[in-house]
């Protein structure tokens, strides 16, 4: 075995602690942006996928299959290195004026996760019996209003657990943003490691933070399952 002296103080205070905290902040920011955008986009794709028009459905299916079946890392590289040739000049200009690493990672995470979210939303909506829609339509609601007032409120309750799971995945996947230089938690842990050679401490700190996030959200989810989904059980 190697001889190794632990020095936990470097990750609990001082400069390196601040690096890790700033990394956590970026991870949370990236996750928050990704979650909001991925949810909106996922909802849109799910609706398109259930459209009555075959070409629309076909486009949604192509989107879902393509982005679910390619690695997130490759998608990040595409947006970071390659997107300038296919995006309009105005969009490129706007992207360059922002923090481009962050933007590219956020776009990739959003699109990748939206494909998974769309499937979860769709199966949530499909799990609502058809009769609900038929009853709403015969009561005089339009298709969109039936969705809004009858189907979606019920579907949302069932869809929340898988959605939260996707959000957790997104938060974990945001670690890949380090590959294009976004200074999030994993990046900073690695940074601390290369400055201090205290890799064990740095990665333990990052691991504990990721685990903490997962544990808190999973616990909230269990509570939700007990209180909202199965209030009569237990």
């Amino acid at each position: 075995m190697l001889k190794y002296t632990f020095d936990w103080s470097i990750v609990t205070s001082g400069k390196y602690f601040e690096w890790l905290v700033s990394g956590l902040k970026v991870t949370l920011e990236l996750s928050a942006v990704g979650i909001v955008c991925a949810f909106i986009l996922g909802l849109l794709i799910a609706v398109l996928k259930m459209s009555h028009y075959r070409p629309v459905r076909w486009i949604a299916t192509a989107y879902l299959e393509f982005f679910r079946n390619t690695p997130l890392l490759v998608q990040i590289f595409f947006w970071y290195f390659g997107s300038y040739k296919v995006l309009p000049a105005a969009v490129n200009e706007w992207l360059n004026s922002t923090n481009f690493e962050f933007a590219a990672a956020a776009i990739a995470l959003t699109i990748y996760t939206s494909a998974f979210i769309a499937e979860d939303i769709r199966s949530g909506i499909l799990s609502i019996p058809k009769e609900q829609m038929e009853a709403a339509r015969s009561a005089g609601f339009s298709y969109l209003r039936s969705m809004q007032y009858i189907i979606l409120p019920q579907a949302v309750r069932i869809t929340i657990p898988p959605l939260v799971n996707q959000f957790l995945n997104l938060a974990k996947n945001s670690s890949l943003a380090m590959s294009i230089g976004v200074m999030e938690l994993t990046y900073q842990a690695r940074q601390v490691e290369s400055y201090t050679f205290k890799g064990f401490e740095a990665f333990t700190a990052a691991t504990v933070v990721y685990l903490g996030l997962s544990v808190v959200i999973t616990a909230l989810m269990d509570l939700y399952n007990k209180k909202v989904l199965n209030p009569n059980r237990a």
Binding site: M1, L2, Y4, E65, F66, R68, N69, T70, P71, L72, L73, V74, Q75, F77, F78, F81, G82, S83, Y84, K85, V86, L87, P88, A89, K172, N173, S175, L176, M178, S179, T186, A189, R190, G199, F200, F203, A206, T207, Y210, L211, L213, S214, V215, T218
Partner: protein, 233 residues
């Protein structure tokens, strides 16, 4: 404004994308991606089987630590697991470990944790009466599991295993980060060398992954349909 795409760079480097410098050098590109995915898949199948069975153990002393381990691995990013391997493996073995081995170990441990959940669900999906019947014919509990429950459960797990394999193929791209020259790494290499064609290169790489993963996803759906059909008759 947008520039025209020129895919000549793909044609020029096609063999490099597919197999790296093989046979005059180490295997790389798509070949290495598949090698990493297949080896990790086999390892994590057994890892997942063992973890899944242990997580259902009658003994709390076994069950709880195993569940803790599974949930811990599922709670952190794969990248973290790979970095841990990067640190721990050399310390445990006492000498340097090749990057490909590091990645295979990281992928296997990570995927084992997910596979164990599939195994668990598959076993729990088999009616309890099967175990009870097996034990009442004189089999020991472990024999009932091995000869009666597991063979039936495993068949139902096959589509989920194939889906995990698809995830593995996608996850091998993370090997890039520790410098293993699989498909994604080869892509960035050629991108760094040619400079002018990042869009073409990453569209091509995404397409290669897509063809591969979509084929297996479709296969898994077909299997699922077949299993449902077999159960219905």
């Amino acid at each position: 404004m947008e520039e025209a795409l020129n895919f000549q760079v793909i044609i020029d480097n096609f063999t490099y994308f597919m197999i790296g410098r093989y046979p005059n050098g180490p295997l790389g590109g798509l070949g290495l991606t598949m090698y990493l995915a297949v080896v990790s898949c086999v390892l994590s199948f057994f890892g997942g089987l063992i973890l899944g069975l242990l997580s259902l153990s009658r003994f709390a002393v076994v069950r709880h630590p195993v569940n803790l381990f599974i949930n811990a691995v599922r709670g952190i990013p794969l990248l973290m697991v790979i970095f841990w391997m990067y640190f721990l493996l050399p310390a445990l073995v006492g000498k340097t470990v090749p990057e490909a081995t590091t990645v295979i170990m990281g992928l296997s441990i990570f995927t084992s944790a997910y596979m164990s959940q599939i195994v668990r669900a598959g076993i729990q999906g088999i009616p309890k009466g099967q175990t009870e019947a097996a034990i009442s014919t004189g089999l020991k509990p472990w024999q009932a599991m091995l000869y009666i429950v597991l063979p039936q459960g495993l068949r139902n797990m096959i589509p989920s295993f194939v889906n995990q394999f698809v995830s593995l193929i996608k996850d091998t791209s993370l090997a890039f980060i520790v410098g293993v020259s699989e498909l994604t790494h080869v892509g960035t290499q050629i991108n760094n060398r040619t400079m002018a064609f990042p869009t073409e290169i990453f569209i091509f790489i995404a397409a290669v992954y897509f063809v591969l993963c979509f084929a297996f996803t479709s296969f898994s759906r077909w299997l699922e349909g077949r299993l449902a059909w077999r159960k219905s008759i």
